[in-house]
């Protein structure tokens, strides 16, 4: 059961200011959502390990330094002078 007082503390923790009218609404809604989360408490877990990031290759791949500027050689990279495409148009005109 989430109380409006708990919402006030949560809002402070979240760097939010919530009106007292909204506190009651949020309290009711979060209580409803957290009640639903009880399906997890009732669930008997298998012998599962926590797995994040999801794919094992994320853990095991051999990273190496890559020059980002060379990754997209055909890229339309904007510069301070603007988009490079108009220069081509101007040259043709």
């Amino acid at each position: 059961m989430i109380t409006p007082e708990a919402i006030r503390k949560l809002a402070e923790l979240s760097a939010l200011s919530v009106s007292s009218a909204d506190e009651a609404v949020y309290a009711q809604q979060l209580t409803q959502v957290l009640d639903y989360m009880d399906v997890l408490r009732q669930h008997t877990p298998l012998d599962a390990r926590i797995s994040w990031p999801i794919h094992k290759e994320t853990h095991t791949r051999s990273d190496h330094a890559v020059n980002l500027n060379g990754e997209l050689p055909q890229g339309f990279h904007r510069t301070r002078d603007g988009f490079p495409v108009p220069k081509i148009s101007t040259a043709q005109s």
Binding site: L10, I50, W52, H55, L72, R78, V85
Partner: protein, 467 residues
């Protein structure tokens, strides 16, 4: 139906095409577009009109969800708190589109920070479903789905954290692909839940989705979670795709064919597809997957927890909107976030901070992480015996605008799509008929990790069967 191929075969000049689309967008009544890249699109169109470009998709217009960055362009995530924010860099996925010749035309409406399933939480107001304007287009990529369904553009990029590409695709009668987590770089995608977010294409056809996927996928040194695996370049042939269905092992979770969860008309549409698959020679295998309720609970612990962290950066100091009337730094941050975020975002931030807080961490966040691991193991086991999993994309067809479902009801509407994000496997939604109100029904096909080639071939075969 405007497909990518139809644009490539068109004799119309790129600039004429771009101007025509921009004019149509200005009079569009679906509220699907929240901004246009007029200058960028015009420059690119003029360039492609003036040169014989060898870029494979030169001059094809595309829409971009409002949470993907393009350098010097606005990106707001459908939120007041990012009003006026211009990105200093371009998302890798968008850069790859530019490299391939696509022309980004517009930013599409979305649920605020991708949190929602109806596109009603956007600061720009709700999007109307082009199939039936009294209905929602789904969310969070509702604007992207709507611009494709309304034939404004042949393709759009969306992002999918718990079904945000597939659910609106199903509601609007188009194709939406969520690639494997790690396939497409998230660099330049404004983060909602970093371990779940993935960018993907929304198109009219599976072929177009495959083409777009092959453009945007690939390892990116700017995103440490992308995987160095070859990206399949698919050339899909309808006859071959249908023939390839023979002998395929298609799994069906019986829990998602229960009328206590899914609307009976949707179940009937899925059963029709299964009959056609069986007639095409596929083996239909019933799957006893019983984790769907737990998956929704897991998702709504993990996603808000990650969102609470990711969205803490929006404090009025560094990005977009700021309440400049506040007298102190703390008040400025609190009131900026209070007025800058909508209700759904604030609810999820507080929920995230609750489940992460001392005393509740093990009961909620720790338990959810264990459940996620278990769910991944179950998918691994399932894919030892099937090539793909077929299910409804959504429990219902598009619901009424303003139906005001309570948060829990709205969260449970994602029951079929959420497990896919938690496991990180790829999935696609394709249209598979309509209900008695002529609203589209979506068929979700889920593939093994990094087997987008197999997934798209099966989807293309089913699309061929249904047409």
């Amino acid at each position: 139906m405007n497909t990518i191929t139809s644009y490539l075969n068109s004799n119309q000049g790129c600039r004429d095409t771009v101007d025509s689309i921009l004019n149509t967008i200005r009079s569009d009544e679906h509220n699907a577009v929240v901004g246009t890249y007029d200058h960028l699109a015009a420059q690119l169109a003029d360039y492609y009109d003036a040169t014989q470009s060898d870029r494979p998709f030169a001059g094809v217009p595309i829409a971009i969800k409002d949470n993907l960055c393009i350098q010097n362009e606005l990106v707001t995530c459908g939120s007041q708190i990012l009003s006026g924010y211009h990105s200093p860099y371009t998302a890798t996925a968008v850069q790859k589109l530019l490299d391939a010749g696509f022309i980004p035309i517009c930013r599409t409406n979305m649920d605020e920070f991708a949190m929602g399933s109806s596109n009603e939480t956007s600061v720009y107001g709700p999007v109307k479903n082009p199939v039936n304007p009294t209905r929602v287009p789904g969310g969070s990529s509702g604007g992207s789905a709507a611009v494709v369904a309304a034939n404004l553009v042949p393709a759009a990029l969306g992002s999918d954290t718990g079904g945000s590409i597939r659910q609106p695709a199903a509601f609007c009668g188009i194709v939406g692909l969520k690639p494997t987590y790690g396939r497409v770089s998230r660099y330049g995608l404004v983060a909602f839940a970093s371990s779940l977010d993935q960018i993907g294409p929304m198109t009219h056809t599976v072929s177009d989705a495959a083409a777009l996927f092959s453009v945007i996928a690939g390892h990116d040194p700017s995103d440490a979670t992308t995987i160095e695996k070859p990206v399949p370049k698919l050339t899909l042939n309808t006859e071959q795709s249908i023939q390839s269905l023979a002998g395929k092992r298609i799994g069906v979770p019986t829990a998602l064919l229960s009328d206590s969860v899914i609307h009976p008309e949707i179940i009937q549409a899925i059963r029709n597809v299964l009959d056609q698959l069986a007639n095409a020679g596929a083996d239909i295998i019933e799957l006893d997957m019983q984790f769907f309720d737990e998956a929704v609970a897991t998702y709504y612990i993990l996603a808000p927890a990650e969102a609470a962290s990711n969205l803490s950066r929006f404090d009025g100091v560094r990005y977009g909107y700021r309440n400049s009337q506040a007298q102190t730094m703390q008040t400025m941050m609190q009131t900026t976030r209070e007025t800058g975020f909508g209700h759904e975002v604030k609810r999820r931030i507080m929920l995230g901070n609750y489940v992460l807080s001392s005393g509740y961490y093990d009961a909620y966040y720790g338990k959810a992480q264990i459940m996620r691991g278990e769910l991944c193991q179950q998918y691994t086991k399932v894919f030892e015996s099937v090539d793909a999993i077929v299910s409804p994309t959504t429990p219902t067809t598009a619901f009424e605008l303003g139906a005001h479902l309570d948060p829990l009801q709205m969260y449970l509407a994602d029951i079929a799509t959420i497990p896919v994000n938690l496991a990180g496997v790829p999935a696609i939604s394709i249209p598979c008929g309509t209900d008695s109100q002529q609203l589209p029904i979506g068929l979700q096909i889920t593939g093994n990790w990094f087997d987008e080639a197999g997934l798209l071939t099966i989807a293309h075969g089913i699309e061929g069967l249904l047409s």
